[in-house]
């Protein structure tokens, strides 16, 4: 039985990795200009036969692809952490309003600093997003002290989301600067315009936080049995909760800083992954969530780019379209079976 389980895990991992590779190749070839595999190989090996194709690949599509993969993975791991924290299958950075809080603080910071003629660095953006995430997270934690009903918590999160979006829209509408146009696009959520220097920063931040999350596999596994059991098994519950909040906050802040708020990936992907692996063991599920989030965002970004090319959809349009039915399906499935 043990080896059967392990075989299932290996097969699931292989499926995830293969889908990432296939989606990666499709993301490089398809677009408003179709590029052949040969041109891609020569561009990646810096053997430039086709200058235009090489430029599109190296300056636009490849960083964008990496951005989608890294941020998608980060979002999904952040969702897994929040679901574990609240013992709630539909928790995620977007539903709980954390992404919108990050968006609000980033927008206000950008407007303030742009008016003063200062351009924000990637690190500034992440920091601003993290501050916004934490403010909303504190509010959610405050609410969760008074209710353990997951419905109430989610409704509060959604309301915070609307509230923050309203203030952000207000700020964006009245901020009078040409850069605000970018801000508006960003606040809709998109992987476009990600540069190599952005990739460097996000790769470092996401790699470190994801590895730290993975190292928490053991206490997170105990936490799945609930707070008091975790305590009785020797978990320092207060410390673990703080670690979960900070790590999930950094992960979702990083996503919001570079791609704006992206909906549903944080809820849907961890759920699909758990179902695929038929497990919630963090040591297995955390890396799988990362890979699953990468694959999901690569797929969503591919659709966003090519469906109405050259017009691009915002990434949340696609993730919502795909993710919302998945969440509804999961909830109904849980109602019907005894999977509570």
């Amino acid at each position: 039985m043990k080896s059967e389980k392990n075989r299932k895990y290996i097969i699931s991992y292989v499926i995830l990795v293969i889908s990432i590779i296939i989606l990666g190749i499709l993301n490089l070839t398809w677009g408003s200009v179709d590029i052949s595999i040969n041109d891609i190989i020569s561009a990646l090996t810096r053997n430039n036969d086709n200058e235009t194709a090489a430029a599109i690949i190296m300056e636009i599509r490849f960083p964008r692809l990496l951005g989608a993969a890294i941020l998608g993975g980060a979002l999904s791991v952040s969702g897994f952490l929040l679901q574990t924290f609240f013992n709630n299958p539909i928790a995620g950075p977007f539903v709980l309003g954390i992404s919108s809080g990050a968006k609000l603080v980033v927008a206000i910071t950008m407007i303030t600093f742009l008016n003063a003629g200062y351009i924000l660095s990637s690190w500034d953006m992440i920091f601003a997003a993290f501050v916004g995430s934490m403010i909303c997270m504190m509010f959610i934690l405050f609410v969760s002290r008074y209710t353990h009903r997951m419905g109430v918590l989610i409704i509060c999160g959604v309301m915070i989301g609307y509230f923050c979006s309203a203030i952000t829209d207000f700020a964006v509408t009245f901020a009078d600067d040409s850069n605000i146009v970018n801000l508006h696009n960003w606040s809709m959520g998109s992987f476009s315009g990600i540069s190599w220097s952005n990739i460097q920063v996000m790769a470092i931040v996401v790699a470190v936080t994801t590895v730290l999350t993975f190292l928490l596999s053991k206490p997170l596994g105990a936490f799945l049995l609930g707070e008091s059991y975790a305590h009785h098994m020797g978990v320092n519950v207060g410390k673990l909760k703080l670690q979960i909040i900070v790590l999930s906050g950094i992960l979702s802040a990083c996503v919001t800083a570079f791609a704006g708020p992206i909906s549903f990936v944080g809820i849907a992907v961890p759920q699909i992954v758990k179902r695929m692996f038929k497990s919630t063991k963090p040591i297995v599920v955390i890396p799988a969530c990362f890979l699953g989030g990468s694959a999901f965002c690569l797929f969503a970004d591919l659709i966003a780019r090519i469906l109405f090319a050259p017009t691009e959809l915002s990434i949340s349009t696609v993730t919502s379209f795909l993710g919302a039915p998945i969440v509804i399906w999961i909830m109904l499935k849980r109602q019907n079976s005894k999977e509570v």
Partner: protein, 250 residues
């Protein structure tokens, strides 16, 4: 090794210092002893268990386990001494019964929580003891309440505690498993010399398993003595405010 595993001295329990639930609690449990807590609903049985297991801090007094104050112990040190089975069952997804039992090895595994062959042996033995080997690969959220209770008990045994704390351990069990549970408790205490502190509702079970009985009533320890001395019909009537002659349990 001192004879007592648990010593509670002049402890006041409660969530707020100005509203104590039970005051001036003192008792001790020797290794291998089973002590049952009885008393009317709302008397503070669960709160007392939560205080002894370190979930709630005592308002005053001291609680020592193996001669060490529990407030000076690290969570992991506590977990190697005390295991707990609470009335509330964890809400899990996709977690097999074996995984739940394996979680009991938490205080002994390394940083990534990998189980050694010895750990697996301990898990197997505990599952055999509780007669749940067949449930090994069943999902914890898809089995019956009584089965879950046995899985959680097996998990607690895997923690190899010196003191086992249980809140209403028989409440989900049918008569067959209630009887088995009592037999198993006896074996646990004699074979592994574990002490047990448990709250119970059924006086008949209390009488059969306990070495000593602790009665809580009106915010204090009403009586703490050997089972035979505590469990008389008139004591039970007084403890639960029954009319004279209303209880014929024995």
């Amino acid at each position: 090794m001192s004879e007592e595993i648990l010593k509670v001295s002049n402890v006041t329990i409660g969530y707020k210092s100005d509203a104590p639930i039970v005051s001036d609690v003192s008792f001790e449990i020797a290794r291998g002893q089973i002590v049952s807590i009885i008393g009317p609903n709302g008397a503070g049985k669960s709160t007392l268990l939560k205080t002894v297991s370190g979930i709630i801090n005592p308002i005053g007094g001291s609680i020592t386990v193996d001669s060490r104050n529990i407030q000076d112990m690290k969570p992991i040190e506590m977990a190697q001494k005390i295991a707990v089975v609470s009335t509330k069952h964890p809400n899990t997804e996709w977690m097999t019964c074996e995984e739940v039992v394996e979680a009991g090895r938490y205080p002994y595994t390394g940083m990534m929580g990998k189980l050694s062959p010895e750990d697996h042996d301990i898990v197997n033995e505990a599952m055999e003891d509780m007669n749940i080997i067949k449930l090994r690969d069943a999902y914890f959220n898809q089995i019956s309440d009584g089965q879950r209770q046995r899985v959680l008990l097996a998990r607690a045994v895997c923690q190899q505690p010196e003191l086992l704390i249980m809140d209403e351990p028989t409440s989900f069990l049918d008569i067959k498993y209630k009887l088995q549970m009592m037999e198993w408790l006896g074996r646990l205490t004699s074979k592994r010399n574990i002490a047990v502190l448990t709250s119970l509702h059924e006086i008949a079970i209390v009488k059969r398993v306990s070495d000593k009985v602790l009665c809580i009533r009106d915010g204090r320890i009403w009586m703490f003595d050997d089972t035979d001395k505590v469990l008389t019909e008139s004591n039970i009537e007084k403890l639960y405010d029954l009319d004279e002659g209303a209880y014929h349990g024995f």
